[in-house]
């Protein structure tokens, strides 16, 4: 396959970025999208140019590192698929493909296609956990969890923290990410004691980090590689109101 890539190049956070065009002549349909970029980078290196920086690690759709906006869509055209699991068979010969980084105020560009997503870690640090000190836990069977609750908690817990939801949102909101964690921990009995403080603290940090508010446009869930549903945000809102009322 022949493709024309237009890639966002930006040396440092301070300098202005620009789209640069790279023709590709030898793309195999069996390559993953990142393998296609590997091939480009090998060529750039030998041509004496700097390769394109992009984040990636596990390349099996679970670590959440890969983060490309492909033709305007975070993680590209396939539903429920991370960039690293996207294969070139989904593109057509002769196509022009635009590749850009996540764009959001809370995710500043580091270089080229790499952005800083550490704001997500700070949202988790604000309360996205159960305070369970090591070494004193009760027997696991002492706390039964109804299977439907455990299954629903698991579904929410599959969030990989990639940030596609933020990149897709017209408001740059990280609400789907935050809601996934709140839903997961709110559905298990162990998560109940801290349920109110968790939602208040995490939402407060979310806002402080520069993420926008949620207006239910649903773009987040349509690009989420793990299919976290919009109902998670409804759950967050419910918990949030409950916590506000409980506090007042």
């Amino acid at each position: 396959m022949k493709l024309t890539l237009r890639i966002w190049r930006q040396e440092t956070p301070q300098v202005k970025g620009r789209m640069v065009t790279y023709p590709m002549d030898d793309v195999s349909p069996d390559m993953s999208f990142l393998e296609m970029l590997d091939v480009l980078n090998e060529r750039l290196t030998l041509d004496g140019q700097e390769p394109v920086a992009f984040d990636h690690d596990c390349r099996e759709g679970i670590c959440g590192a890969c983060s490309l906006v492909i033709n305007g869509v975070p993680h590209g055209p396939e539903k429920a698929t991370t960039t690293c699991q996207l294969h070139m068979r989904h593109f057509t010969d002769g196509e022009t493909v635009d590749i850009e980084p996540w764009r959001a105020r809370a995710f500043p560009v580091v270089k080229d296609l790499v952005v800083d997503r550490s704001a997500f870690d700070r949202i988790i640090a604000a309360g996205g956990y159960i305070s369970a000190p090591t070494g004193s836990a009760p027997d696991a069977h002492a706390t039964p969890v109804p299977k439907p609750d455990a299954d629903a908690a698991f579904e929410a817990a599959t969030c990989i923290g990639c940030g596609a939801c933020v990149a897709a949102c017209p408001n740059g909101s990280g609400m789907l990410f935050t809601a996934a964690k709140i839903t997961h921990l709110g559905l298990v009995p162990q998560g109940q004691p801290e349920r109110d403080s968790r939602v208040l603290d995490m939402v407060a940090t979310h806002d402080e980090e520069g993420f926008g508010g949620c207006t239910n446009t649903g773009e987040c869930t349509s690009v989420c590689p793990k299919g976290i549903p919009l109902s998670a945000i409804a759950g967050l809102n419910k918990d949030y109101l409950h916590a506000l009322r409980a506090r007042s």
Binding site: E11, T12, S28, D30, M31, S32, E35, M36, E42, L44, T45, L46, Q49, E50, P51, A53, D57, C58, R59, E60, G61, I62, C63, G64, A65, Q85, H87, R89, K111, V114, R117, S118, F120, D121, I124, A125, Y129, I130, S131, A132, T134, G135, A137, P138, D139, A140, H141, T143, P144, V145, K147, A150, D151, F154, A157, T158, G161, H184, Q190, G191
Partner: protein, 644 residues
């Protein structure tokens, strides 16, 4: 004939307590010196890596009151490669009442490790396994549940009891998020200072003790020195020496290797676990291999055509023309034989020309019978996400066409040598998780790596490191100390040299070539001749690297090529040591199959009389020195493994 190494003194003391094996861990904990809570605040520990072992260790040490500095090269500690473990975690809970016990898990693990691990360590691991599940459940890890609300379990490769706890096919992710969240809690509490996008490039040893590390900030390129009273390496395994493996692209040996160059012994490097259920390679562009969870073997049947060169579609091959070779050769275990046996059996049938798919390097993993027996919905509920992943990568639907699988490098059992306290041969340097050699022996069984990572991080290290730290805080160190300046200079010189070559080959092209050598000669089957050849090839390739490599960009700022170049250099040295270790061990055991050492039936032939030891290698810059630690078996007596 060149042996490539010299013999050194045996290792006398692994520090395991004596007495009945059930009491040893209890005894060690009691005898370990304690650190007064007020003193813990004055003690600093560096933890490198944030996977199951490093994340849980940093969180636990922070909670205990130590000042912890945590480092990872990813942009977030949540992305460590433990997150990709699909299968499950073992624990001797006996919730199924099927005869499991601590002793049985201990027994199975020693045996599954082909009698090349330590009884004391493995017994401790089995004991702690039950606490791990309790801890994770308390953290809210959403394990699979029965309708009554209690935990569900499944059986896993090599085991005949149902002791594996799991969260669909994403157990590693859920366990890691549990540890990561515990870590973030400590970060918020101020006990852990997190440094992501930082890579450890050198160990700082002062007065014979590990006292810090040299790190590079991967965003700015700045090289700094960081000090502590103890250093913990939890930097994972080195499977990426093969280039193609199931490891994440960033996994590397650098932290462990630089510590090895400072005197930490490196044990059993040749023990590589080859996983039988990976998606086969599709072309030269391939950057990594994707594992399909071993749990698939519970319900999938493995087969190839009986006739060599039979290239008909699988549906056109009748039952009587199929060879369900695992069920045929190993009737007692069938498709659930341990990983090394399943992998080599796949290689053998492919070598006979009966492999399937492009290039003939694949075998079928067929769910038709399971779908017929359980229904599509039940199969989908169990394995849905794995089937989806397979379809995404291959473009084939495994509900209607059998999956194709082939073995791939998955996990490395070798690593830095540690004693019972998980301390290396450098005082103050502790090594946990996959980065140490400790508990797996020659062949890790399914679902025991997650168990070891969390056991080390949550329970073992936090107890044993206190015994060392009780003698601290150690004298303050500043940047002018000669050892510190020297370590820093090594890092800076190396970077300058790499950037100066400016040759005509990329870093990845060297890495791929090294990987091919390793897979060919130090992969599923090793021979004396092949290993000698490989050592020569690796030495030549390393020399060529210094002539021809091109590392674009500069030392400042974000430079991914520079990161990789340094790691590949370490892989050259490690690869050579792996071959030397494989060459000297003229027996077959677990993940190490020496073609010269097999039974008449073609099974691995162990040599307990001559090789019942841990091979711990000392770095010299020239030929390495071999130190042996004898393995003693008082409770599980070595026997020829038979899965027939």
């Amino acid at each position: 004939m060149d042996t490539y190494y010299t013999d050194g003194d045996p290792i006398a003391d692994g520090k395991a307590p004596q007495g009945p094996i059930e009491d040893r861990w209890e005894r060690r904990r009691f005898e370990a010196k304690l650190v007064n809570p007020a003193n813990k605040r004055k003690l600093t520990v560096i933890v490198v890596g944030t996977g199951l072992a490093g994340g849980s260790a940093a969180a636990t040490l922070g909670e205990l009151g130590y000042q912890v500095k945590s480092y990872c090269f990813q942009d977030s500690p949540r992305r460590a490669h433990s997150i990709a473990a699909q299968g499950g975690i073992n624990a001797a809970k006996n919730y199924r009442n099927d005869g499991d016990s601590v002793h049985r898990l201990f027994y199975d693990t020693v045996k599954g490790g082909d009698f090349r691990s330590r009884e004391s360590n493995v017994h401790r691991l089995a004991q702690i396994s039950t606490e791990i599940i309790d801890q994770c459940v308390a953290q809210g890890v959403p394990f699979a549940r029965e309708y009554g609300g209690l935990l569900d379990t499944r059986s896993f490769g090599g085991a005949q009891v149902s002791r594996t706890f799991y969260a669909r096919g994403q157990t590693g992710q859920q366990l890691l998020l549990g540890a990561y969240q515990a870590l973030e809690r400590q970060i918020a509490a101020g006990t852990v200072q997190m440094n992501s996008r930082h890579e450890m490039l050198e160990l700082i040893v002062v007065d014979g003790k590990a006292r810090g590390i040299v790190v590079r900030d991967l965003v700015t390129g700045e090289v700094t020195t960081e000090f502590a009273d103890a250093v913990v390496l939890a930097s994972g395994g080195y499977g990426n020496v093969f280039f193609l493996s199931t490891n994440a692209k960033g996994c590397n040996v650098t932290a462990a290797w630089r510590a090895h160059r400072h005197g930490a012994l490196f044990a059993n490097p040749c023990y590589t676990q080859i996983h039988p259920t990976c998606i086969p390679v599709s072309g030269d562009h391939q950057s990594k291999l994707t594992l399909m969870s071993e749990s698939l073997r519970n319900d999938g049947r493995v087969w190839v055509p009986k006739r060599a060169g039979d290239d008909r579609a699988p549906g056109a091959i009748g039952e009587d023309e199929r060879d369900y070779y695992l069920e045929r050769i190993y009737p007692a275990f069938g498709n659930l034989v341990p990983r090394d046996i399943a992998s080599r059996a796949a290689k053998n049938v492919c070598d006979e020309g009966r492999g399937v798919g492009p290039g003939g390097l694949g075998v079928y993993l067929d769910f038709a019978a399971a779908i017929g027996r359980l229904g599509r919905d039940a199969v989908e509920a169990k394995y849905g996400n794995l089937f989806e992943m397979y379809e995404r990568i291959t473009g084939e639907d495994p509900y209607t066409v059998p999956m194709r699988i082939y073995p791939a490098v998955h996990y490395t059992m070798g690593g830095l040598w540690v004693d019972y306290d998980l301390q290396s041969t450098i005082p103050g340097l502790f090594v946990i998780g996959e980065a140490n050699f400790s508990d797996h022996g020659a062949n890790r069984l399914g679902a025991s790596a997650l168990m070891q990572g969390l056991a080390d991080g949550y329970f073992v290290l936090p107890n044993t490191i206190g015994d060392y730290l009780a003698a601290g805080p150690f004298p303050k160190i500043d940047a002018d100390t000669p050892e510190v300046a020297a370590a820093r200079r090594i890092v800076e010189d190396r970077i300058t040299r790499l950037l100066a070559v400016n040759g005509d080959r990329t870093v990845d092209s060297f890495h791929r070539e090294l990987g091919r050598i390793m897979w060919e000669y130090c992969g599923m089957e090793r021979t004396d001749e092949g290993l000698r050849k490989a050592i020569g090839m690796i030495r030549d390739l390393k020399a060529e690297f210094w002539q021809r490599v091109r590392v674009p960009g500069g030392e400042e700022g974000f430079n991914q090529s520079l990161e990789r170049a340094g790691r590949v250099l370490d892989f050259f040295e490690l690869g050579e040591l792996m071959c030397i270790d494989a060459l000297h061990r003229t027996e077959s055991c677990g993940g190490h199959f020496r073609a010269e050492s097999q039974t008449d039936e073609g099974e691995a032939q162990r040599d307990d009389e001559n090789f019942s030891y841990v091979a711990a290698w000392e770095y010299t810059g020239g030929d390495p020195i071999l130190h042996k630690e004898d393995l003693v078996f008082d409770y599980v007596h070595p026997s020829q493994r038979s899965y027939k």
